[in-house]
Symmetry: C2
Subunit: 388 residues, 2 copies
Amino acid sequence: MPTNRRNFLKAAGALTAAAAVLNPAEIFAKTFGTKINKSKKMQLSFIPYTAQLRHVFRISHNARTSTPIVLTRITYDGYTGYGEASMPPYLGESQASVLAYLKRVDLGQFSSPFEMEDIISYLDGITTHNTAAKASVDIALHDLAGKIIGQPWWKIWGFDASKCPNTSYTIGLAEENVVKQKTEEAAPYKVIKVKLGMGEKTDKMMINTIRSVTDKVICVDINQGWKDKHYALDMINWLKERNVNMIEQPMPVDMVDETAWLTENSPLPIIADESCQRLDDILKLKGVFSGINIKLMKCTGLFEARKMVTLAETLHMMLMVGCMTETSCAVSAAAQIAPRVQWADLDGNLLIANDCFSGMKIVNGKVTLTDKPGIGITKTDKNINFEA
Amino acid sequence: MPTNRRNFLKAAGALTAAAAVLNPAEIFAKTFGTKINKSKKMQLSFIPYTAQLRHVFRISHNARTSTPIVLTRITYDGYTGYGEASMPPYLGESQASVLAYLKRVDLGQFSSPFEMEDIISYLDGITTHNTAAKASVDIALHDLAGKIIGQPWWKIWGFDASKCPNTSYTIGLAEENVVKQKTEEAAPYKVIKVKLGMGEKTDKMMINTIRSVTDKVICVDINQGWKDKHYALDMINWLKERNVNMIEQPMPVDMVDETAWLTENSPLPIIADESCQRLDDILKLKGVFSGINIKLMKCTGLFEARKMVTLAETLHMMLMVGCMTETSCAVSAAAQIAPRVQWADLDGNLLIANDCFSGMKIVNGKVTLTDKPGIGITKTDKNINFEA
């Protein structure tokens, strides 16, 4: 029984010749001159890339002007999926470590990109860490499989794209006049994210300066910067009065009891970032944090991220999706889970000057997904050549 | 960028006329004379059905010769998805309660079957119970969405179909000579399931009788029949020596501490059935049972079942998939998660004389999935008419 157009085309004997003529991979290759792997064997390629930041980026103990990236591509049966690893230096991965990892990956042993459970389990078993490197393969796999299916992952997962939240736009530590200028530049965004934890005077200057320009909602990321729970609670009460609506990772990862006390007493939700890397971390965070921040570069990609959404929702924990400084490739992948989260911090592609993909867009401040299949991206930089 | 055949067809202007001619729903309707809902509004239909059992079926406190069923169908955009509710009387649902529930369902408020999170949440909110009724809509939705995608759900979920286990085949309580005969009839199946808990003498007669015919693996389902943990452990040790490899629901649901003790001391895995209805039950079963038995009629369908797989795997609990006496429709739906389970008890369709669908097959004793989209079924009984 013909149940969809593709099966119908296969079944309709009279149309065999027409169907052969219509092979989209062939026509695409002829038109655009791209080499396409038509075999039913997955081929992984990868190239290093450097994301140039629009502004110098500062967090608690760090400042930088670029982020090292590795771009990945998997071809199979005429389809192409793209992926990405982003390696902010403080997370311990580098282009060298990612390339070394990717050289060990042999996807040829799997018969199709749909064997996700087995492939993801294989990728995870190659090394103990390398979560960004693993994510770069996972993302390309999802882009590939989604394109074969012909649907975006948010839709395959049953999510409602209209429920995506606004993204926050990060304003880094700077002098007062620079903070004012950046706040004005953030006009298109409805939520501002500020990284605090630099001491009370600096933290309050940051908030007061932003508040001198706008009253829009602020999310605050402490990056483990507070060491005293009573001080933390005082600060949170001060922040709440200034229309801050959540606090990310206020205290160090090992201060579990103090964080649980803070979450119990805080008038604002407390979200785990450094405390929550992967699926297996979530269970022990119930009762410690109000919710978790899912980042593909920490959790090895979309396959595990999807499971983290299920687990956190089952535990009645809140959800946030974040990113590193990344191109629209990895940001669009992360955006696939955005319909299920309360906060999205998906400004990674907005912070870089040389984005080489187009994909998820921020429209009126809101994460806006399209019906484009896979992770919904197009490679826009023709100079990026995986064949080189 | 054309990324798959359907998108390509849409994009290729020159082919517009041809694509219009090829509308599979229209051609299918012309060829086979079926009324097809071509609108982009989902239409739900349902009819009562009675599954006739091949053998009288006995469990602890019950015997019956038929099972009441309600079949469902959702049409949308030229596609058709089928579903089913099965109501063994001891579970509290009936054709009347399912039909009453289904009359309250309004799918027209949703714009597509892909809005699964919202639709499933809406279905669950209509009433407190009615899990089989809810499953009948969930299954039809998955069949429909999978057909639009053009892939079976096991594949969309990233599972490896070759990892499906053997199904067990249930032998009900009967006289010695009947048990022998049924054991011989079970020759095509590699695992036998026996429902015990009728008293030591009867239970041992059942096992000894089967063992007089075959040494194949036996799974034992107690249906809460044991009330003493020490007796239960003695019986489990006796059963282990006779090549039994798992014990399902040995003690009553409310004997939680006793079951936890039994699981800790048992040489065989202890699997929750009556103790595990839905996703929210699983967390409190960690440490009480070794694993859980997922049944679509208890958990409201595939959407929740998929989440239960994720949660149980995250908790390192074992998995079983079971069914009621059902047609190949609901059994094939349940089989979509079979690649992730250690035990499958998917003989529901084998136990009935008037199966009106064909779908998942047992090949050499093993659950065998196909590449057919959705839940992989075909309606084989032309007398079943949803238009009546």
